[in-house]
Structure formats: C-alpha cells, structure tokens
Symmetry: C2
C-alpha cells in the first residue's frame, strides 16, 4: 500500500511536469518541438509529401537557379521584427536560409494582431523570443541568433557592429546582408552608420504611417546612395510608435502592404544573393522599388551617392569604390542605347533607372494624389536627360538639410 | 490511507485529462483557446496595447477610409487554401472581415512548408480544418465556414453554388466576393461557371509553375472578361499538383511570390469592398495586375468580355449589363483625353488600361525574357490606338480555342 502511494505520487509529479512543459510550450509559441520535424542534413529534390524543400529545389528543374542549395551558406541580419521584419524572417526561414540574426527590443502586443506572423497567445513575450520559437519550429535547419535590445544606444551599437562583423555562419565572418525593417528614423540612421563604417551591403524597407504605401531600397556603401545621402522616395513612418502612443494616436497598418513589402524585399534578397555571388539566374535587383497600394503603382529607380553626404564613412566608401573601379581592367560595355553598364561592381548590378520620369507620370497619371507621407525625391529635375535620367541628389531643388528637417518633423 | 490513494488516483486522472487536452490543443493547431483573446463586440479606435483593431481603425484618422467598421459586414469565399489562399485568409482574418468561407480538399504536407501559414505539426490535417483552427485563434471575431471537398465534382458543385448564394453573414444572402486561389485550370473554370451563372463578382489569382510570376484579375460577369473569355495574361500553374507528383516532378513555389500575390489580392479586395459599396476612399481596383519577381515588373490592364464567349451565362450577363447601362440615365463623362469613363457600373470602376503598351515595353525593356508560363494576351495589336488601348480578345492574333488548347497542354 505504501508502495502504491509512492508510485501514485511519482506519477502525479511526472504528470505535473509534463503538463507544465506542454503549457510552457504552448505559451512560448505556436506548437513546437513535438509536432515539428527533424533536421535535414542535405536539401533533396525528391518529390515526396514529406520533403519540405521539394518545391524550392524544383527551381533548378525550372531553370530559375542552378544551385539552390547555396542558400544554406548565407547569413542575413534582420533589424526590427515587426510587421515587415517578422514576415521577412519567416520567408527566409521557409526558403532554408543558413542563419538569421534578429534584433528587436519590443514586446508582442494584441495591437500587433492586424499584421501577419504573431499570434494572440504570444502577447507579452519579447518579439525576438516569440519569433525564434515559431521560426525554429517551422524550419529547424536554420540557425538563429536573437538579440533583445535597442541598437541605437551606445553600448548596444558596439555589440550590434560586432555581430554584423562576426555573426556569419562561420563565427568571425561577417553576415552577408543586413535588412532594415524598423519603424523609425533613428534606427534607420543607426543601421546606415554601421553599414557605412563596415562597408556592409544592406536593404532598407518601410511602410508609410497611413499604411497604404511602402518601399524597399538596396544600399551598397560607396556605390549607391546611403540613407543619409538622400531620404527615400517614400518616407516611412518616421514617428516612433512609442512617442505616438503617449499622445493617444498610432500609425495605421495593414497586413497587405506589410506582406507585399516583405515579399518584394525577400525576393530581392534571393535575387541579390543568388545572382551576384554565384552568377545564377535569379533575376535583377531593384535599387529602389516603391508600392502604392491605393493605385497598384510600383515605381523603380536608382540613386547615386551624394559626394557631400554628411556621413564621412559614406564619403570614404565612395572614394574607395572609385579607386576600385579605376584599378579594374576596363570592362565597361557600351550598350546599343548608349547606356553604360558597370560590370565591374561586386554585385554585377546595373545602376540605371528602370523607368523614365515620363513613364512614371504616364503610368498612373501625373502622380497626383500621393498619400500623406510620400515625398518625391526628384521633384525638380531641371535638366531633362534624353533617355534614362539617373536620379542624383543634386537634381533636387530642396537642400538635403531641408528634406531631413521635414522628415524629422513629420 | 485508502482515502489518500483515492485522492491521488483522482489527481492522476485529472492530470491525464488536462495533459490530453493540452496535447490535442497543440496537435490541432498552433496554441489555441487558452492563450488566445476574448471576442470583441465593437471595433474600437482606442490606442492601447490590448486593442487588436487600433492600427486598422487608425486608417480613419489617416483619411484612408471613413468607416472601417463596415468590414465586419462582408463575407468572402476563398476557394483553395494553399500558398496564396491561406495567406489571403489570414490577412482578411487579421483585418477583421465578417465571415470567411473556405473550400479545399487537400491535406497539409511538409512539402507545403516553403510557403507561409501552415506549420510542420499540422502535417496530415485537412487544410481547411488546420486553417480554421489557426485563424479562429488569431481572430475569434470572424465567422468561419469550411468545406473539405473538391468543388469540381457534380454533387459538390451544387453545394458550392448553394453556399455562394446563401452563405453570407445573414444566412440566405449571397457572399460579397469569391476569391479563386486554386492551382489548376479545371477548378478555375468551375468557379468561372458558377460565378457567371450567379452573376457573382470574383477575383482570380495565380502563380506560375516556375514560381517567379503571378497575377490577380477582377471578374465582374458581363462587364469584364471572364476566365473563359480569355486566358489570363500570366497563365498560372496549369498542371494539377497531383498529376505532377505521380510523375515525380512538382511545380516550384516561393513564399515571396505567393505572399506578394496574396497581399495585392487582399488589398484589391479592401479597395473593392470599401470603395464600391460605401463610397469610401480606399483607392482604385485593378482589373488585372501581374507580378514578375525576376524584374520587379507589375503590368496592369483590363479586358472587355468576349461577345463570342463559350460560356452562355457570360454572354447572358453581357446582355444584361448592356440593358442595365442603357436603362440608366446618361452619366458618361467625357474626360480631357477623350476617354469614356463608365460611371454607371455598380462598382464605380473605370474599365481602362492604366498603362499603355508603349509604356509597358519601355518600363522594363521590350518585355524580352518572360519566364516560361507567361503569355502576353495582346501579342498582335495590329491597330495601334493613339492613347489608351483597351485590350479585347479580338485583338489577339490567336483564336481563343488555340489559346485554350495551349493552356490545357502546358
């Protein structure tokens, strides 16, 4: 009898432990571990229901990429795990990226439920913790490194720089790409400062505070305009949500716009990583791509760096890029139309506008009703170039200082 | 002592029951019930972390919509809950749509994990069951009705027609919109047949089998081209996945393209529902919007119905539309450019191309390297119209039969 009681007590303890585990699993994130899948050593093309990579490896058979498995060798850092960043992280995770670094210092709130990814039961958890849990469950083959801090403080900035420089798949190697998915001006400028100093290629993304427009932008220090060279075409929500909330107002957001921006961002990440490093066949990369959800309008353009940029590291990178170009054997190709394509940059990307200003105007009328929060950076293009006008900062009638001041006041 | 044993036995039973419940919750879907949120009677604009609608209601303050709450009065039916349909359903759920009807007969597989939404622990569950569970947890204010069947069989088609006609928020009323998110030609034709017969407005969506292009298309029976009038510009994966799998091959897919297509689809749903019925301010609606992920190219156009359409209900709807237009007081507005805008249609939408063919060509070169699976429907536009060419089926050099045959063979 005594033995029976002891056995029952042991069973109660065992069950209580299991129950606590189940509950913490469920509280931490959406169904984890037990229900997930085992890790997979090598990506296979086998067409069976149990192969999570069959539809991606089929890109090879379709002639889209020659070596999809290479995606496992890349590391991407995502700063900001909100409406755009979380979906960006999920897409890269499902694509089977090698490693993801996530940076955010916010908590999941029910107020975030109007965008994809987070779920109500995660309210109260830190965004990076909740995201890691969900993503690890979706694809245990991806490595995750999460940092629950604000990159804009001095101390954290040092650590952030260090992880960008050393957090690659192989410790000590830099990450391949930094993605900015933040919601405020200060954080964007911080990423810009870090990437200019490190010569780190990154992509900017943003959604306007009225929720109906967004953009992505590729920044290669020294080669294309940095965030301090010129404000982006579509100025994203420049108001820190925390400041806003104190005043009882908040920016609007929609899962549609944020999903579209995340989708075109990750697609350009795939295009960039696969296209540039391994000369695969994954399409071109946009330097700037906007999205106007009210009119299904998607302007593209490119911007040269500003020789008078406030950021001295940007100016330094510009000098180094010039030297690099000058040192290379002449490879410039004169195209039929007379455009010059710079084949000598590391990424093999053409730095020309894909669409002329005239076409921009014609394609949806005279760009008349831009919603609040959109600024056209090339407002005063005095000299009408004949074919493909490259947009430079100097073309703008407004001074950079004016533009920056406007942005800060918005 | 006996009492103690009994008490312990009861405790063991109790714990076993709780553990089973926890496990079934976790097995059924990502963290449900307990961790979710309570239902909310009225949408509030209050800016607090606990309000899941604050960021949506902020659209009113931003001047984007005047009456966001109206979204709760709408019912949308989604056919196909795969890579596009599941994300579409999630976006509408997070936006707080009134009711969703989901139709699919497939099961979740690990092979689906390269797209958003489903998670590995849901493998083996029916897609509609798994989706309902996840979506209900995300937003318990939405009503769900799911049907785990193939709409193309005779018996199910009857039931499908019945639910489109009667499955509105108020039983007996039709749904407001049908969204096609299927992956094969037969299912698209079935939806087309049903919607032509019922005069039901619907939207088509698709992603090419090489994963790098997609499209959405708005079809208002009698007013714009139906799916049988003309094949869509970008022909979506016309091969049934089941057929393919038997041969050991499968279509490629990416979370990016599918996420973008779902995003522009739902954005156009919001534009359509808010814009048309309540004269809100939610932007225009695209009749056709394509997405080429390799080149960030987004062509838009519109298509008139084909007077010789094979579907007799389409021809009937065209006649009725003509009568309706003729019976209305003359409201046609001659614009500056000489275009005619039909203000007399129920949806208040202009049926004109947003971008000229010339612009299409210029905007990304001569549309040269369209990936396999894309067909340009306006291949032979012999007569060059001066300003805004409306694309009609008659413009095409190929006969409809030829095009259809091609599509079936792809």
């Amino acid at each position: 009898m005594a033995e029976s009681v002891e056995r029952l007590q042991q069973r109660v303890e065992e069950l209580e432990r299991e129950l606590a585990q189940e509950r913490s699993r469920r509280a931490l994130g959406s169904g984890d571990g037990g229900g997930g899948r085992a890790r997979i050593e090598n990506m296979s093309s086998e067409v069976v229901d149990s192969n999570p990579y069959s539809r991606l490896m089929a890109l090879k058979r379709m002639g889209i990429v020659s070596d999809y498995e290479k995606i496992r060798t890349f590391t991407v850092a995502i700063v900001g795990v909100g409406g755009v960043g979380s979906v960006t992280a999920e897409m890269l995770t499902r694509c089977g990226i090698g490693k993801l670094l996530l940076f955010d210092y916010d908590k999941v709130e029910l107020a975030n439920m109007n965008r994809l990814f987070f779920q109500p039961h995660q309210a109260g958890l830190s965004k990076v913790q909740a995201a890691e849990h969900t993503l690890r469950n979706i694809n245990p083959d991806v490595l995750f490194e999460v940092h629950n801090y604000n990159i804009t403080t001095v101390e954290n900035f040092e650590h952030f720089m260090n992880r960008i420089s050393n957090g690659g798949l192989e410790e000590g190697k830099p990450v391949d790409l930094v993605l900015s998915c933040v919601d405020n001006f200060e954080a964007r400028m911080t990423i810009n400062t870090a990437c200019n100093e490190l010569g780190q290629t990154w992509m900017e993304s943003g959604v306007s505070e009225n929720a109906v427009s967004g953009h992505i932008q590729l920044i290669i220090p020294g080669e294309s305009a940095c965030f301090a060279c010129a404000p982006p075409l579509v100025v994203a929500a420049n108001i820190d949500e925390k400041t806003l909330k104190r005043e009882g107002v908040c920016a609007a957001s929609l899962p549609t716009t944020m999903g579209v921006v995340a989708g075109i961002l990750v697609q350009n990440v795939l295009n960039l990583l696969c296209f540039s490093r391994f000369l695969l066949n994954f399409g071109t990369v946009s330097f700037y791509l906007g999205y106007n959800a009210m009119q299904d309008f998607f302007p593209t353009m490119s911007m040269k760096p500003n020789p008078q940029c406030d950021d001295r590291n940007c100016r330094k990178q510009q000098e180094e890029y010039k030297k690099k170009v000058a040192a290379l054997p002449k490879q410039e190709v004169i195209q039929e139309e007379g455009e010059i394509i710079h084949e000598d940059n590391e990424w093999g990307i053409e730095l020309v506008s894909e669409i002329s200003e005239e076409e921009l105007k014609n394609s949806s009328g005279p760009i008349p009703d831009l919603p609040e929060g959109i600024m056209v950076a090339y407002t005063v293009p005095q000299k009408q170039e004949d074919s493909v006008p490259e947009v430079t900062v100097e073309d703008s009638g407004e001074s950079l200082e004016d533009l920056m001041a406007k942005m800060k006041n918005m």
